[in-house]
Symmetry: D3
Subunit: 327 residues, 6 copies
Amino acid sequence: MTKKRTTQSDLAGSELYDPMREPRYAEIATFMRAPLAHSLTDVDIGLIGVPTDLGVTNRPGARHGPREIRNSSSLMRTFNLALGVNPYELCRIADLGDVRLSHRYDLERQNEDIAAFYRVVHAAGVRPVTAGGDHSITYPILQALGHDRPVGLVHIDAHCDTMGEIDGSKFHHGGPFRQAVLAGVLDPERTIQIGIRGPAEVFWGFSYESGMTVLHIEDVDRLAIEGVVEQARAVVGDGPTYVSFDVDGLDPAFTPGTGTPEAGGLTPREAQAILHGLKGIDLVGGDVVEIAPQYDATSNTAMVGAQMLFELFSLMVLGPHLNRRGS
Amino acid sequence: MTKKRTTQSDLAGSELYDPMREPRYAEIATFMRAPLAHSLTDVDIGLIGVPTDLGVTNRPGARHGPREIRNSSSLMRTFNLALGVNPYELCRIADLGDVRLSHRYDLERQNEDIAAFYRVVHAAGVRPVTAGGDHSITYPILQALGHDRPVGLVHIDAHCDTMGEIDGSKFHHGGPFRQAVLAGVLDPERTIQIGIRGPAEVFWGFSYESGMTVLHIEDVDRLAIEGVVEQARAVVGDGPTYVSFDVDGLDPAFTPGTGTPEAGGLTPREAQAILHGLKGIDLVGGDVVEIAPQYDATSNTAMVGAQMLFELFSLMVLGPHLNRRGS
Amino acid sequence: MTKKRTTQSDLAGSELYDPMREPRYAEIATFMRAPLAHSLTDVDIGLIGVPTDLGVTNRPGARHGPREIRNSSSLMRTFNLALGVNPYELCRIADLGDVRLSHRYDLERQNEDIAAFYRVVHAAGVRPVTAGGDHSITYPILQALGHDRPVGLVHIDAHCDTMGEIDGSKFHHGGPFRQAVLAGVLDPERTIQIGIRGPAEVFWGFSYESGMTVLHIEDVDRLAIEGVVEQARAVVGDGPTYVSFDVDGLDPAFTPGTGTPEAGGLTPREAQAILHGLKGIDLVGGDVVEIAPQYDATSNTAMVGAQMLFELFSLMVLGPHLNRRGS
Amino acid sequence: MTKKRTTQSDLAGSELYDPMREPRYAEIATFMRAPLAHSLTDVDIGLIGVPTDLGVTNRPGARHGPREIRNSSSLMRTFNLALGVNPYELCRIADLGDVRLSHRYDLERQNEDIAAFYRVVHAAGVRPVTAGGDHSITYPILQALGHDRPVGLVHIDAHCDTMGEIDGSKFHHGGPFRQAVLAGVLDPERTIQIGIRGPAEVFWGFSYESGMTVLHIEDVDRLAIEGVVEQARAVVGDGPTYVSFDVDGLDPAFTPGTGTPEAGGLTPREAQAILHGLKGIDLVGGDVVEIAPQYDATSNTAMVGAQMLFELFSLMVLGPHLNRRGS
Amino acid sequence: MTKKRTTQSDLAGSELYDPMREPRYAEIATFMRAPLAHSLTDVDIGLIGVPTDLGVTNRPGARHGPREIRNSSSLMRTFNLALGVNPYELCRIADLGDVRLSHRYDLERQNEDIAAFYRVVHAAGVRPVTAGGDHSITYPILQALGHDRPVGLVHIDAHCDTMGEIDGSKFHHGGPFRQAVLAGVLDPERTIQIGIRGPAEVFWGFSYESGMTVLHIEDVDRLAIEGVVEQARAVVGDGPTYVSFDVDGLDPAFTPGTGTPEAGGLTPREAQAILHGLKGIDLVGGDVVEIAPQYDATSNTAMVGAQMLFELFSLMVLGPHLNRRGS
Amino acid sequence: MTKKRTTQSDLAGSELYDPMREPRYAEIATFMRAPLAHSLTDVDIGLIGVPTDLGVTNRPGARHGPREIRNSSSLMRTFNLALGVNPYELCRIADLGDVRLSHRYDLERQNEDIAAFYRVVHAAGVRPVTAGGDHSITYPILQALGHDRPVGLVHIDAHCDTMGEIDGSKFHHGGPFRQAVLAGVLDPERTIQIGIRGPAEVFWGFSYESGMTVLHIEDVDRLAIEGVVEQARAVVGDGPTYVSFDVDGLDPAFTPGTGTPEAGGLTPREAQAILHGLKGIDLVGGDVVEIAPQYDATSNTAMVGAQMLFELFSLMVLGPHLNRRGS
């Protein structure tokens, strides 16, 4: 099967058009310059935007994340050197557009829209890789992906995001993993949280009580990246696993464009080494969240986010149970 | 009566401390370096922040408006040259802090909190001048101020803000004046909207149907500022009047830090001339809204907002029915 | 004929999807959220990007213009109040994508690619409205549009752009109108240049010698906008006319994101009033050029550019000889 | 006499090198790409930087003004269209470098250094055009230029700058014109202050008491630019006159990069029209002050400053008593 | 004893008001959202701003540091995970406002004001944690704290700050530790300087001659953080110790908003690990200095500064001789 | 021999003027505040700007690099601590200005101009240290320096830059080292590339085929800096060697101002340690390229670039075969 890469207007004879060879600043911006899918047929991995920040507790702006990540993702190319793979050769990867949210001011309804969308995607056998949006979106995604069997989780973040209700809502971006465990779609024993820090520990008792493995940033220093990888692999095992990457897990110097920065985080090199170390796990979905472009004076945050999305689906194509193109 | 200006820590003998004489960058930032009130007693005009942007349709960020306006307002001093008045000499002016919002993710509940707060302020005989927040906050403020008698309105804005429901809510920032008319707290016949433009006219039929006077930016060019002032005074007459100033009424070159900029707006000089022209009206309250600091690379938007707040309460002290200090 | 507005992925039942009703930050960014055309059939007005800045003499960056204008153009809606028209009701308007440039480092070859593209568009009866790119792109566009009959021109700019060769090239962004006259595709007697200023007058003798009408910014002050409109209409008459809008015609406070800013320019309100005054001319094409997003800290320049593109095709649908939808 | 324009390294045969023809971003940045003078011989007009902001009351940064103005001034060219003159053809214009300040933390000593420098320049018959620095520098400049005969003054500013002592010093940037009058080097009767606004009027009684003409921004609206020019010419007459241009006289939308912005100011077009209206006065010196680049996200402030410096020496060469090249 | 946290206006029944639970963007900004003290009674640790940058040698702006740090410090919460302590439970911590400086243009007089203020604080048994301001402020602080017995010092910085007189002053920000040793208030044998780099070594001979321990950045690489901590503990021992944290000790990627950045510095993680390693020392005071917000496009510098202040007083409450609440 | 440091106007008796002692913001900006040379006589090391970005494939802007690096380089001083040398004491170091490019729009002609300039410099026995400009400039520099004998290369970069033709040119910034090997001026066996990453590996087969040593970022993690240094020294040996430093070799958090950022790069500390490790090699030239100031919101990129230039000529003066002052 030949994949025709034509997300763009093809007035000029697009049969030969390969967006990866075009100038990075040209044409409409889709995720990774991948084709914009009009159906789920012929798609193995779907790149999806969820443009909302209704769940944030502090600085909003992540609703603009998907667009800016699409824009910056034109910097990406096709070969993942560290993982030794060109994911486009193994799978059909497409931009599925954004989830449409019927209620702009109602977090609970938005969650329902998101869950419904991912159920359709999941039922079609398409593996989703998502660009947020704030972290509240991960709960409804997990509702869809973990419905039949709770998933495991590698969670890179400054915060555990297992808080309870704040100011009248339990669906805010500080608590998706609590809700997911309570809903039975996330297995806390198969969950590891990496990069945790900041002075809000008091709110995260649920992580410990439910049996999650929590690696504070000091633990990362202590274990070194090799030790972190070893522990992460041990926790998630070979069951279906999700990776949720909050860009505030990185130090704000690398990802300033986010809503709740915490000093003293991971470097992108460390985070990439962790992801590379997960090679071979059964990655059923992943997301990169909390990119707020208006705080991103250099656009580095969106660029790093695009890179991490690329790492995620590079990792995904190397997993054991994935649909593969033409197969 | 002597007003002691001591909003700040007075460890160093503050009896003599006049924040207006201190460096503008020193000490805690209150609105205009006015004292922070701990009760409504001894206050004639209350400066209030409403830190929410839950009602926006596009770029959020106005929740950070009150803090940044407080910060920039240190540039203000005491004498309003065009109006010929030092408002601090006529009235006791204080920072009343921010309205506390019990529900962070529920626009309707926030409206209730805001209305409740302003009812208390209003009942105490304190005239409120408000720093938003997005424009959705003006409806609950008017609920309090117009409860006994519908107020008139001078509304400077790029948008009429008389839309109906969007995506499941009628309380968003595009519709407060529709709600206020429907609630009987705003008199549309005594309402004038100035600076209207942009390609969303189709949503604003309510303005015309209800009897509001709408001056598009082309009308401002046609009438000149003198004509605008004349018409505004004719519309609001000598009844109780509110002034609502959305900074997107100005051209985005002057106020870039806002959520829905529209090219081709008023200049600050024009807006100030309009406000100065209202001298003598019975101003019962006013607000400056839609300042989103993260889009305000120069901080000019917050500075202009602070200036307009100063114009509003300078105007207010010259009105006919105001409590005055010591009286 | 029903226009289905579906530029985006329609996984969720897009028959009912109207991007103009969606949040402005959602989905893939096309010009004005118009559909992305895959052929020239069923298109009356084509919105086209030309992503190059190879012709600049000073600060580069306009190659990124089309993407950022697409992004900012989501702020636009459908009704042009001043012109009293919803252009989408009269014409089928689509995003035709970007012109593909086969040579990234050769200005002359790029010009050939551009001219070839516009010849195809022109032959199909589609009227082009273009987002640059630097001003060098207007010459090849005029080569296509003025091939059969030289066009007239309303040119808003700080610079006359009628210089000769610089540093080995005559195709730079300082000379497209000289080349167009010499190529016989632009009628200098039907050309008016508005907003000219800055200390480079010495290079623009060709404007005067060829018979163009040049209105310096001081002339705009002297004539007032009404006088400018009158003169522009007299110059271009009822023949086919092109409008070329260099954003540096505006004062840099309004459009900082450009390569050769000149203090003391037009305001957007003035420029819009000039464009509105052209209602009824036979507009065969138009462009907005020289938007360099990396110098546009507030994104206002792209937003103003999007507004001016909207003005251009609003004007175009009101012209005498245009294809109209379904006709 | 032939002027060799070689401020730069001439390794490549600079006899033919004309910096005005070179790319604007090339080579070392001098004011206007003028030659860097190593003596006062053969110079008619000297462009001088005074890199200090020790006198500011609020936001510092103007110490970086001269460098950034030099950088931005490469955008300037040679012909002043409105004044009809190429100043380089009439006078020898050179960059004299920066005044060296022996005491970095002592405002009073700095004033002495500045006065000493300008006395040397003045004695050599060179007319100085200065880039600040904060406004405190104008007093020592006037000490040198007005020593023999008090000068007249056209002062464009938001503030009168005639305050007395603040916090232990009378030499701050809010009072240079008070000191100059008291020192007998400035004639208040021949002084006009244009663009004044902001809520600090109470500090400027000295302006009125000493006999200065003060035009508030509302007066500018009332008189129109023609009236302002008329009054300015009447005030300064044909005696020796200085022009001091504080960029905060302009609206902060045009010149955000300054320390004490005030909403509602002049536009550059208005300011240029005022300066052009002064054609023929005996301009003995001029300055552009208060440019603080770190607040100038777009670099527009430095660009406008460079333009105003160009206007100043264009005006200067048209005056009655100037040394002219070769004469 | 119950600590009522009410720094803000308590119109709405503040008895129950806990600012740490409020949205981070709400209300007046005090350091850490701690109460603003009106006396020194009932305060154990005082957070103090010193808003001056009169001592800088290069880019000014640190006068705006205290305000911006107050603003960013709302991101902090209450529990210090690495140190295992909630400092608010052990001590009464309050914002003491800013030191008032009677002379705005006289560095020497400012030093006297600062020393006087800290003598009062010290005499009251309150331990000060200070937000600068430039580094010149540390000398007068040490004059107060080290008066009875010279203190030891852990000094994190890119520069040794032991220079002598520059341009007429010895009190600039490049020399406070030289002055402190010469005044007998700092014990050089108990002083360690960490992170030193940059090409100005020649000025810092005093550090070596006086007996300070200097760890260049290369030494940090060589010793690793564990070795640095070991050496720091050995140097300061169990005597009274001060920690002075200049944000330019960190790499400019993490703290761009500072006046004299030097490439190749510490990471926040390293700096935090060093501070955590000091657990148990007798910390009598600390400061974070040289934050210049106008160079801090992302606000990360102020955020990191707030974090380091939090680390300092977390460390302080764990020391041996501190007043504790209610005790 | 005494070196008089007078790059600036010496109206005030400059015999004693030492720019290194002056405020960093004062006077005209030359590289490192070194004197601007008017001939090659008496120069040992020449600092040269090459202001072009015609060769970039993505974001342009590096044409502005030399000016901004000159500006930021005022932060440098004279002593290189890690290398233990004051290079100004050993060699005569001067700013040679910028290479003049006769063709602004023709990459091939620009290459010829550059090669010609460096041949003159090389023939004069002056060692060049260059500030770019994009990476395409290194090929013509090597044409000059490697003409007699191919040089070795230490190349720090995210990209191998050994691609072939793109879009009609082989001289773009992605291929200079391929061209240099093919031209016989670069010895691939003596070439090491450090820091390589990003998803474009497929284009760099030439590096491997020609025999270059390629160290990916993962190799740097694996070998540690000591291992990298060892390998670099082994590769280049004691023959003539060039160091080319592309700032995108560093992580974009440290150098955001560049055209093709790649997440996960070197830190400045690592890069400096690598350069310091090269002490003693025969460095015949070096460059720092790809600094695009308009993407450099903090100016850190230019500052880091200046630091690396300082490292390069500090290293150079310690080499075995260099001309030394007075010798």
